[in-house]
């Protein structure tokens, strides 16, 4: 593995900055309403093509809604869903991982089997079950994504905790008479924060794709909200004649996921070199790879004397 470059990640940084600004200032940037269209203006191609109109730079969909405006507003949905789902699953998974790793023994076995169950849930099946039992709603999307995501946090944080709790400062905190709650919150948690930051970033791409998948399947954000996945699903029937309905949200999603993954890789290399072997494979493979807590040189020096 080459040494991480010292250069700042300007490419993903620029894209993410643009994404956030777009989401925040969507009402000022979007030329038209994202949800209301003029049916007489339907299926207008992008402006540079024949029949294209200046009012709809990226064309319109089958209800005459402006594609550009919908892509712009769609960034809000992707961003909010990602933040909420990662916040929710990250909090739950981290808490579980910390307790599991620090307590060890029976608690650990129990919580980790629970996590295994979480990891083995098939995404599409869950989505289909959801469609059968409930209405698609914004809240349900966040819940389902969190349900699929928390075990990744739990696993990774547990592994990290196992390494940290062997450090002498933890034993010394026990000698100082401090409680487990104190030790977890003051000693272990602050030391897993860099890892947490890295996994969170690496999950953003996964969440956006998952939200897209759920919306595409019709169990995600309900129409007429301008979710990117929903737009892709909408345009599917018109791929041959009106490809712009599908292409532009697809490109937006592609760029976003690419940027957050590059950013995550960069963060991982700079904040937490131990995670480097993990690679970004963790996003595509549902079975998160648990890193073996590596003996650190300093820890090894202390452990060498079994005395």
């Amino acid at each position: 593995m080459p040494a991480p470059s010292r250069e700042l990640p300007w490419f993903p940084g620029a894209i993410l900055a643009a994404l956030v600004l777009t989401a925040v200032f969507a009402p000022y940037l979007a030329p038209q309403s994202p949800t209301e269209g003029d049916i007489t203006q339907k299926l207008i191609p992008p402006v540079w093509m024949e029949r294209g109109e200046g009012r709809h730079p990226l064309g319109t969909d089958r209800f005459g809604r402006d594609v550009l405006s919908r892509v712009i507003y769609g960034s809000r949905i992707s961003l909010v869903v990602s933040l909420l789902a990662i916040g929710l699953s990250g909090t739950f998974g981290t808490a579980l991982g910390l307790i599991s790793g620090y307590r060890g023994g029976f608690t650990d076995s129990l919580l980790m089997r629970f996590t295994d169950i979480g990891l083995s849930l098939p995404t599409i099946l869950i989505a289909v079950v959801l469609v059968a039992v409930s209405e698609p709603s914004f809240r349900n999307v966040v819940l389902v994504i969190s349900l699929l995501l928390w075990p990744r946090f739990a696993r990774q944080i547990r592994g990290e905790t196992l390494g940290i709790k062997e450090q002498d400062f933890v034993a010394l905190a026990v000698v100082a008479g401090r409680s487990s709650t104190w030790i977890i919150s003051r000693h272990i948690f602050p030391n897993v924060v860099p890892t947490l930051l890295v996994i969170s970033t690496l999950q953003v791409g996964y969440v956006i794709l998952l939200e897209g998948t759920l919306s595409f399947l019709g169990v995600g954000v309900p129409p007429p909200n301008p979710a990117w996945g929903l737009m892709i699903a909408d345009g599917r029937g018109f791929l041959a004649t009106a490809w712009w309905i599908t292409l532009f949200p697809g490109v937006a999603m592609l760029l976003t996921v690419l940027a957050v993954n590059l950013m995550g890789d960069w963060l991982r290399d700079h904040l937490d070199p131990k995670l480097r072997q993990l690679g970004s494979r963790a996003e595509t493979e549902p079975a998160a790879i648990e890193p073996v807590p590596e003996a650190r040189p300093r820890g090894a020096a202390a452990g060498a004397d079994g005395g």
Partner: protein
């Protein structure tokens, strides 16, 4: 003040899928010792002799398999909450690795204040003042509390670790290899600091070390461990002057003499430290002992007082 009687610690060895355990590692096998107020007990022995396990039991980080540990005459196993809180205030520790023993994400003032109980009647200002006081006591700047550990050198970090151990006005500090991880040039400074603090504050120490010179510098009494057992105890100078147990003799002969031109005879031991899962029958040292007799193979020697104040477990006496 602290007294251990027949402490044993066995770690079960489990073997893969087999249910239950196959034997156990006898890390500590019947160790008794006593440390009085203001006294320093040096515990020496090679790696794997059980020194650190003993320290962990004293610090209540491990529970002994058998035996009893008493603090001011009170059985530790029968401690009430208040007793435990008092023990935690009275007994502190300094460990070997000054990197691993300080949380890199905590400021020095919080590290040092950690042993202070939240409800001990001290106001925040008093606690801050106490932290400054101990920082000064260990030779650091009073105002270094706002810094993080990585801003200090190894020796300074060990001073921070010592400051933390002092903050609750303890009576007793367990020093587990306190200078082994430090540069040779820093060791004397830290040892002098520890000695000075002991005189000033009337502390009792247990110093665990494989560095005989460090142990000798601080210790008033010495205990030699081999394969989970105490083989010899006595006044430090007496043990150095006239080691009784053949293992002590060999161990001391491996240390540099105080005077460079002193005549020394090296006793080189053959063989390996015994497997702690299956220690040899009889005396644990007999396979390596230059003076082993037939009796050593079959009969385990008891620790006896063979001279006034000198205990050893050997059939020679």
């Amino acid at each position: 003040m602290i007294e251990a009687i027949g402490l044993k610690k066995y770690f079960p060895v489990s073997s893969g899928f087999a249910i239950g355990s196959r034997g156990s590692v006898k890390a500590l096998d019947g160790v008794s010792m006593k440390v009085g107020a203001g006294e320093t007990l040096g515990i020496v022995g090679e790696s794997g002799s059980g020194k650190t396990t003993l320290a962990k039991i004293i610090l209540l980080l491990e529970r002994p398999t058998a035996g009893s540990l008493r603090f001011d005459g009170k059985e530790v196993a029968a401690f009430t909450r208040d007793d435990l809180a008092r023990y935690r205030r009275s007994v502190q520790a300094v460990f070997q690795d000054p990197y691993s023993s300080l949380n890199p994400r905590m400021r020095v003032e919080h590290i040092v204040a950690e042993p202070l109980p939240r409800d001990n009647g001290m106001s925040r200002a008093e606690k801050t003042e106490r932290v400054r006081e101990v920082l000064q006591l260990v030779g650091l700047r009073r105002d270094s509390g706002g810094l993080y550990p990585h801003e200090f050198s190894g020796g300074q970090r060990q001073r921070i670790a010592i400051a933390r151990a002092l903050v609750t006005y303890p009576k007793f500090i367990v020093l587990d290899e306190p200078v082994s991880a430090l540069d040779v040039s820093i060791r004397a400074q830290i040892l002098n600091l520890l000695k000075g603090l002991q005189e000033k504050l009337g502390l009792a120490y247990v110093i665990i070390s494989h560095d005989l010179a460090a142990a000798r510098y601080l210790a008033t009494r010495l205990a030699v461990m081999y394969a989970g057992k105490l083989v010899e105890t006595g006044e430090c100078d007496a043990v150095y002057g006239e080691p009784l147990h053949p293992y002590t003799e060999a161990l001391l002969s491996a240390a540099l003499p105080l005077h460079p031109s002193a005549r020394r005879q090296r006793i080189v031991l053959r063989g390996e430290v015994p497997n702690p899962v299956k220690p040899p029958d009889g005396c644990r040292f007999h396979p390596r002992c230059p003076k082993a007799m037939e009796r050593c193979r079959n009969e385990e020697p008891e620790g006896r007082e063979v001279k006034p104040g000198r205990f050893t477990a050997c059939h020679l006496y």
